[in-house]
Subunit: 341 residues, 4 copies
C-alpha cells in the first residue's frame, strides 16, 4: 500500500494517466477526493515497487508526493522474521543472552604487540580479537596496513589465544584472502554503500559485521544488510559507530538511539563501537556502559598497549588496565539489564 498525493488543481486527465499507469503494473487505485487534496491509495503488493518506480510516479504531472507505507527492506525486517537472529562463531553466540566484547588495536602492527594485546583483552573477558590488515585511511600518505602479513599475524594470535578474528575487507579483490584468515568480516563505515563489496560478502557464508556509514540513516543501514542477505548470507551483525553531525567536541556523534530503534525494526544482532563513535579514549567507558544499558548485543573496543605509539587511532584506544577496569563495570551493567558478559 502506497499513497500518491496530487497537487491542488491536478486535472482529471492527470489523475487518469496515473491510475492507468498503476493498473498497467497490476495495482488498483483507491481514489479519495478530500476538500484540499485528492489522494490515491495504491492497492496490491507495493513492496515490489522499487524506489525508482516510486520516484518515476513522483515525476508524473499532477503528483505532489508519494508516501511509501511499506518498508523497502524485507529479509532484514522483523515483520518478515519476528524471532531474534543468533549467530554462532566458534563457541560464541552473538545475539543471545551473553554480550560479546570484540577488542584489539585499530591496525595490526607486529606479532608481539598483537599477541600481548590479545592476551590482555582475553584475560579481561573479551571474546574476539580485532585488528585491521587493510586500513581505509583518509590520507594516501598514512599507513595502509600490513596486508596479508597482517592477516597471518591475526591467525597466529588466534591459534595462541583461541580468540576468533574480526578484520576488515575493503576491496572485493581481497575476498578470498580474508575468507582464508578471518572468522568475521568487517565492512567499514566508509564502505557501507559500496554495493559491490556487499554483494561479494553476501555470496559467502562467513559472518559479517556491517558498520553504519557516517551519514547513513538507520533505514540505509538496514538496506545495506538487505544487500548482503539478498545474496544468501544471513549472518549479518549491525554496528553503530557514530554519525556525522555539527558537534565537534566528539569526532563523531555515537547515536545510541539506533540500538533500540534497530531492535524494533530488525531481528539482527546490534553491536556498538564507542571507540570510533566518540574518537576519544576518555569517552569510551561511559558510552560503552550506556550502549549495554540501551540494549546492545556487543561492543567493539580499541585497546593498545601503547596508544601514544599506535600507528593509528591512538587517541581513542584504551590501555589494557583501563580496559580491564571497564570490563568489570560492564559486568555490573549487563547484570542490571538481565544479561551477562
Amino acid at each position: 500500500m502506497d499513497i500518491i498525493v496530487l497537487r491542488p488543481g491536478a486535472s482529471s486527465k492527470e489523475l487518469h494517466n496515473i491510475t492507468k499507469k498503476l493498473e498497467s503494473k497490476g495495482f488498483k487505485a483507491n481514489i479519495s477526493k478530500g476538500t484540499e487534496r485528492t489522494v490515491i491509495g495504491v492497492i496490491g503488493d507495493t513492496s515490489k515497487i522499487t524506489e525508482e518506480e516510486s520516484s518515476a510516479f513522483e515525476a508524473m504531472p499532477g503528483v505532489e508526493k508519494v508516501h511509501r507505507i511499506i518498508k523497502p527492506y524485507k529479509l532484514a525486517s522483523k515483520d518478515f522474521k519476528p524471532e531474534k537472529t543468533t549467530i554462532k562463531i566458534g563457541e560464541n553466540i552473538i545475539g543471545g543472552k551473553k554480550i560479546h566484547v570484540i577488542a584489539g588495536p585499530c591496525a595490526v602492527e607486529d606479532k608481539a604487540t598483537l599477541l600481548k594485546i590479545a592476551q590482555e583483552v582475553k584475560k579481561a573477558g573479551a571474546t574476539f580479537i580485532r585488528g585491521g590488515a587493510f586500513k581505509p585511511r583518509t590520507s594516501p600518505y598514512s599507513f595502509q596496513g600490513l596486508g596479508e602479513e597482517g592477516l597471518k599475524i591475526l591467525a597466529e594470535v588466534r591459534k595462541k589465544t583461541g580468540l576468533p578474528v574480526v578484520t576488515e575487507l575493503m576491496d572485493p579483490r581481497d575476498i578470498y584472502l580474508i575468507l582464508k584468515y578471518a572468522d568475521v568480516i568487517q565492512i567499514g563505515a566508509r564502505n557501507m554503500q559500496n554495493f559491490r563489496l556487499l554483494q561479494e560478502v553476501g555470496s559467502h557464508n562467513k559472518p559479517v559485521i556491517i558498520k553504519r556509514g557516517l551519514s547513513a540513516t538507520i533505514k540505509e543501514l538496514l538496506m545495506a544488510a538487505e544487500y548482503i542477505m539478498a545474496q544468501g548470507n544471513n549472518n549479518v551483525i549491525l554496528c553503530e559507530r557514530g554519525i556525522r553531525t555539527f558537534e565537534t567536541e566528539t569526532r563523531n556523534t555515537l547515536d545510541l538511539n539506533a540500538v533500540p530503534v534497530l531492535k524494533n525494526l530488525t531481528h539482527l544482532p546490534v553491536i556498538v563501537d564507542p571507540s570510533h563513535g566518540t574518537g576519544k579514549w576518555d569517552l569510551v567507558a561511559p558510552m560503552a556502559k550506556a550502549a549495554i544499558a540501551a540494549g546492545a548485543d556487543g561492543l567493539m573496543i580499541e585497546v593498545h598497549t601503547n596508544p601514544a605509539d599506535a600507528l593509528s587511532d591512538g587517541e581513542q584506544s584504551l590501555k589494557p588496565t583501563k580496559f580491564k577496569a571497564l570490563m568489570k563495570e560492564l559486568k555490573l551493567i549487563a547484570k542490571a539489564v538481565g544479561r551477562e558478559i
Copy 2:
C-alpha cells in the same frame, strides 16, 4: 594564549600591522617562522579577547586563521571551579550521589489530571513534578498553555504532594509570575540562545534548567550557562534533550555523548530528557537507562495518564504503569554505577 596563522606569502608589513595591533591591546607576539607558514603566538591573558576581537584579527590582511586556545566560558568551566556543583531545592540535592527524576505531562491541562499524574510519579520515585503553563508551539494554531491558571494548578499539586515544581519561562515579561510559583525555571531548547531571557533568569537566584538547543554545540550550551552565571545566578542545571541530525527514525537524536563530555568540561549538574530527545515513548526506557549509565545526574520524563488524549506530545509520554516499571529498572542501573535513585 591564541595562535594566529599567516597566509603563505604574507608580507612583512602585514605581519608588522598584526603585531602592532596586538601590542596596542596589551599582548606580546611570539613569532615562529616555519618552512611553510609563519605563526604568531599571542602572549598575555587572551581569555579577555572576545569572539568579536578574534574575528576582527581574522579579517586583517595576511591572516589565514586564528586558533583559540582558551575556552570562551569561565564561570561554567572546571578549570575555574574543579569541584562539582550541587544545587539544593527543598530537600533535594541535584548533582550529588542521588539521581533525581523529574516527571509529569508536557502541558498542564487541568487540576485533576495533573494531581493524578503527580501522585503516580511520586509513588514510583520521582522527586519533582514538571508541566508547562506556557508552551512554545511550532504552530500558532496549537494549544499555547493555560498561563497563570496552569501555574496555580502546579502550586496546588505541589501543596498536596510535596513535589517541587519545574516549569518553563518563555518571555522575560513573565519572570515574576514564574518566580512566584516555580521551584525550578526551565529554559526550553528553542530559547537556549534567547540571550535576554538568559540575562533575566541570571538576575534572580532561582535554580534554572537550561536545555540544549536543537543545533547547539556543547560549547554553546556552556556559553548559555555562562550568560546566566555572569549575572550572578550559579544554580544552573544543564539538560541534553536531543539534537537535529539527518536521521528521521527518531524525532531528534538524543546525544548521550554530551553527558561525559560535559562532565569533563564543567562542574554543573547534567540531566537528560529522553522523552523530547527521542520523541517516541518506546525509546524512552532504553535511553533513560543509557543516560544513567553514561553518568547523568537526573532525568526529565514525560508521563501522562492518557497519552492519546494529551494536549501535547502524546506520542512520547509514558503511562504511569510503564513509568513505574522503568523506575525499577533505573534503580538497578543507578546501583551498577555507584549511585541511587
Copy 3:
C-alpha cells in the same frame, strides 16, 4: 486528508477505537485493508488538526505512523494566496522586479562610521541601511550594542541619506523603541522560534524580515511567518542566512536551494544574507551573485569601512570598494535573469 497507517497485526478493537476518536472530532474514516498494512484515510478538513492532535493519534495503540498531507501553514502558503506579495517601504517595493540590497555594518558603533558607510553603500546602489543596536552575542562578555543610542544614530543617518532603516528586535519589551526608529524590523536567526517575539511583531503593521534559524527547516521558517501573519501582520520577508551542517570551511552552509523551494511554496518575498551565511568576506561576492541567479528578491550584505576594527563580524564584512565592485557584477546577473537592481 491525513493518512493513519496501522501496525501489522493491529486488532480490530484498536481500529475501532481510532475510527471512533476520528468520528468524535467530526471526521470520516476511509479504511483500506492492504496485503501488508491497514491504512485509514481521514476525510474532512484535516488542516484544523493540530500537530498535537496528530501526535496524540500516533500515541494510540495499533498506530504505526501518521502521514500528514495538508501543509501546517496556511496564510503563508501559495495554495491560499497564489499571487506574489509585494511590500512597500517608503519608495521601495520588495518582491517586485527590482532587487533590493540592504547594506551596512553588523553593529552600529558610532555616528561618523555609520554615516560614512551609509553614504558609500547608497552611492553603490544599496536601498536600505542595516545596523544592530541590540546584538545577540554568544558570549555575555561581547559588545551587546549601543541600545537606544544606536537607534538614534540610525534615524539620523536615515535623515541624511534617505535610506530606510533595518534593525533587529531581540526582546518583546523593546518593541515600542524599535517601532519608533525602524522601517523594517529584523528577527534574528536565534529568535526564529521565539514565539512570543513573533506574536509581538505580528501585532503591529511594520514590515518584518525573519531570518531562518540555524537548524530550522524550510517548513519551520514558514510556520514562523505564519505566527506573525496569524496576528494580522502580512508584511513578512523571509531571509535565508545559512544553516548548520557538518562542514567547517564555512561558518554556516548558505542554503540557496531554499530560494526556489520557498518560491514554490509561498507568496512572500525571499532575500538572502551571504555575509552571515558564509561568515567569510571572500565568499560574499560569489554567493551574492548565485543568490540572484537562484531567484532571490534581495540581499543583505555587511559592509564596514574598516573590517579589522569592527566591533563584530569583521571577518565577513566587505570594504566599500569591494561592495561597489560587487554591485556592478550583481547588475549584470540581475539583467541576465530579467530583473534589475
Copy 4:
C-alpha cells in the same frame, strides 16, 4: 608547523616526554608558557606528520589538543600549484573560459532512447553525454544497470553524435572495461572514500570526475583527489552534488558554497550536479544558474525524454524542451560572469 596545547596542570615530566618524542622524529619544540596554558610550537616540516601520528600525540598524557596548521593535501593544493589546471578531453577543455555541460539520463536503458537524448542535448549545447551502465542503488531489488551492454551503447552514441562519454566506475574489477569505453570516469558520491577505487583510477591517465560524498567535508573531497593524484593521475575534476543535512524539502542540500571555497583552495576544475544535488526537476534550473554565477566550470544535468518512465531518478530529470530553455538562460548567466557556454 603544528601546535600542541597542554592541559592545565600538565607536569614537567609530561612536557619532557612530548618534546623528546618530537625530537626523536626530527622536530624542534618551541615552548611558550602562557598564564593559562602551555603551548608547544612544532618546528620542522610538519606536512610529513600523518593524521595518525598527530592523533598519537593527542593520546599522550598531558596533551589537551593538537592544532594542525598545514593542510593535509598537497598535490591538490593551490599552495603547491597556484595556476588553474585545465583538462583536455577531445576538443573540449575543462577548467578554461568555456563552461561545459554534461547531460544525459541517469542510467543507460536502450540505444534508441539514449541516442534521442544525446541528439537533443547536443543540439541544445551540451558537450558531453552521461549515462550509467553500472548503477549504485540503495536497494538490491532495483535496476542495477546494463553493464557492458550499456557501455557499448554509450560508445555507439558517441560515434553518432561526437559527444565524449562520462560513465561511472563502481568496482576496481571493472576498470579495464570502463577504460575501453569511457572518455571520463565518474566516481560516485557513495564511493568517494572507496580508497582502493581511487588508487585504481589514479593508476591510469583517464580523466576522473569525483563526486563529493553525502557527508564529506570539502577537505575530505580534496583528500580523495589527493589519493588519485598521488598515484600519478592529475586529470581530476571535482563535483559538488549535494550534502546530507536535516532539511527534507530537497533530497540533498546542494552546497554551492563549495564552489568558491574550492576555488580558493585548489587548482582543479569544479563542476556542479544540480539534479542529484536537489533531487527535484523544478529546482534544477535555478540551481544550475546559481552554480554558474558562483563560479562553477561546468554542470552535470539529468535529461530524459520520458522522466515518468525512466528506470531511475525520474523525478529529477529534465525533458529536452526544458533543458533547451535552461541552456539559453545559462548562456546569459555565463556571459554576465565573463564566461561562455
